[in-house]
């Protein structure tokens, strides 16, 4: 290797080549840990996941919190937008990668998706534990002055604009994760949930719970957004596989669901042609 060759810089990964092939790794080290010679069999999946993101192992409490979050997020259920996207791909026989790509594209969004989690995490960074700051921010959505590829946010991030009250699974998740957390955000959110819901005029959503958990795990917004995308993929995957097996004939098409307001009606030439052909 010469100095002029392009290299990949990494604080995460190091490889030692096999003696007979410079392109095959004999040992792989993740942040200093021998992945296949030491870590495999000792670290749980969430511990390794945390290590990959933070380059340090989690404490026992952090591992339990991340594990709880991973279980809570793993399957948003078949009505969720991202899972529906995956099922739409699955039912038509798309590649499995396309099913997950569809789930990622839709689940990236600002309603129930990963971008909403990142924006909710920004709220924590801006407001901390200042209830008045939260109340102001939730009732005055910050808007980018410049246009962006992301549309403007239409509801307070972390809250459900279509909710009537905080749904039970959200409350159950918050209660469990707040009990696991050694951080401050989840307990504070549990304590002040009703006041925050009043300020935003919306009930707390799973994105809001996830954001607080990710703050307590000391992830930054980019890491939180990425983890949220990743952790919700299992549900998208299995529902896509399930609908592929059921087949498109058993999947909603909304046959009578579309109302077209500007239908010009059948074109005369088409009718004539059809008559001639028929």
């Amino acid at each position: 290797m010469t100095d002029s060759e392009d290299v990949i810089h990494s604080r995460i990964w190091e490889e030692v080549p096999e003696t007979d092939n410079p392109f095959a790794a004999s040992a792989c080290f993740c942040s200093g840990f021998d992945v296949y010679g030491d870590l495999l069999g000792k670290a749980s999946w969430v511990e390794y996941l945390y290590l990959l993101f933070k380059q340090e192992p989690p404490s026992a409490e952090q591992a339990v919190l991340l594990e709880g979050l991973a279980v809570a997020l793993a399957n948003p259920g078949p009505r969720d937008h991202s899972v529906r996207a995956a099922m739409n791909a699955g039912v038509g026989g798309s590649t499995h990668a396309a099913c997950l790509t569809a789930a990622l594209a839709v689940g990236a969004g600002q309603l129930g998706g990963a971008r909403e989690v990142a924006l909710a995490m920004e709220n924590w960074r801006e407001c901390g534990h200042d209830l008045d700051a939260w109340k102001h921010r939730l009732s005055h959505l910050p808007q980018e002055q410049r246009v962006d590829v992301w549309p403007d946010m239409e509801h307070p991030p972390g809250f459900d604009p279509h909710g009537a009250s905080c749904a039970r699974p959200i409350r159950q998740t918050l209660t469990y994760l707040a009990r696991c957390s050694s951080g401050d955000a989840l307990p504070w959110l549990q304590q002040h949930r009703c006041e925050l819901e009043s300020a935003s005029d919306c009930p707390l959503a799973m994105t809001g719970v996830a954001a607080a958990a990710l703050v307590d795990l000391e992830f930054n917004a980019g890491q939180g957004e990425t983890l949220y995308l990743l952790l919700r993929l299992p549900g998208a995957a299995v529902h896509a596989l399930e609908q592929q097996a059921y087949g498109y004939k058993h999947y909603p098409f909304f046959k009578d669901g579309l109302e077209l307001t500007d239908d010009p009606g059948p074109a005369p030439q088409h009718d004539n042609h059809r008559e001639r052909v028929g």
């Binding site: 290797m1 990964w13 410079p22 069999g41 670290a43 009250s165 307001t261 500007d262």
Partner: protein
């Protein structure tokens, strides 16, 4: 709390003026019959009609198509989005996954999506202020003060943008080179280059100006450009697919320049050790 009223109103009910398929019969595309009203238009015209709901004349369509042909589709697999297409080819993935992923990532910050939409946004905002009597120098100064840089000016890898001249030649041929926004973008460049020589215009600003002159809004321009890199991606994918698998710019292990923590042993706190003990695994 709003409650679920909007969801209740929309359950099994989607009202639209964008279009519909009448199975076995016809297709309505934004109020027009696809097989009758739109049967003779080009794909570029259909794309722009789908985005804007407006029909453009032949001269305008040649300009829009020229933007894609001349400015956005280099078949060089070193370019980041094309490289994804090539990687998909070398890894023997599918063409649709390759092009889909490469297009998705083209919505980037240092090139593609953000510079494109922010370029036209800057030009439209600036012209609004000029129309109200502001001075261009002051508008630019304020923009730099607020955002540190103006997207569409300066370029990540090289100063000169080789696409400006051929695109301006096409605009001249089509008699589109003296629109309000084209004049504006060159005036902005003149001021910025005086400020810092590396801030000459890149193609994002010029295309934004040309599109603004044709009446595209911010989001119309952004949507129009979403697929603009596609033509350069297919050759990169095919080339890698047709060469030995895995052969596209491989990295040997030692070209991962590790800069992290020193070697250390894992001390586990998780329940997994209750099953496996705390022993390291060796070959075998």
């Amino acid at each position: 709390m709003n409650g679920p009223q909007i969801l209740l109103d929309h359950e099994q009910h989607w009202v639209t003026d964008m279009g519909a398929w009448f199975p076995g019969e016809r297709v309505v595309f934004r109020g027009k019959d696809l097989f009758h009203d739109l049967k003779d238009i080009s794909w570029m015209a259909l794309l722009l009609y789908g985005i804007t709901g407006r029909m453009f004349d032949d001269r305008q369509l040649r300009l829009f198509e020229g933007m894609w042909t001349l400015c956005t589709s280099y078949p060089d697999p070193r370019l980041w989005n094309n490289r994804v297409a090539a990687l998909a080819g070398t890894a023997r993935s599918t063409a649709a996954l390759a092009i889909g992923a490469a297009n998705a990532m083209s919505e980037a910050s240092v090139y593609g999506g953000r510079p494109l939409i922010r370029s036209i946004d800057f030009l439209l905002r600036t012209q609004e202020q000029l129309d109200k009597g502001a001075r261009l120098e002051e508008v630019i100064k304020q923009e730099l003060k607020t955002y540190k840089r103006i997207l569409g000016f300066g370029r990540p890898l090289i100063r000169k943008d080789e696409r400006i001249a051929p695109m301006m030649k096409l605009a001249e041929d089509l008699e589109f080179c003296d629109g309000t926004y084209i004049k504006l973008v060159f005036s902005v460049e003149k001021i910025l280059v005086r400020h810092r020589s590396c801030l000459s215009m890149n193609i994002a600003a010029l295309l934004a100006a040309m599109s603004a002159d044709q009446g595209l809004s911010r989001y119309e321009y952004y949507h129009f450009m979403v697929l603009c890199f596609s033509a350069g991606m297919f050759p990169c994918y095919s080339d890698a697919l047709n060469k030995p698998e895995g052969a596209f710019f491989p990295f040997r292990c030692e070209r991962v320049d590790y800069q992290g923590k020193p070697r250390r042993k894992w001390i586990s706190t998780s329940g997994i050790n209750k099953v496996n003990g705390n022993e390291s695994f060796q070959d075998g």
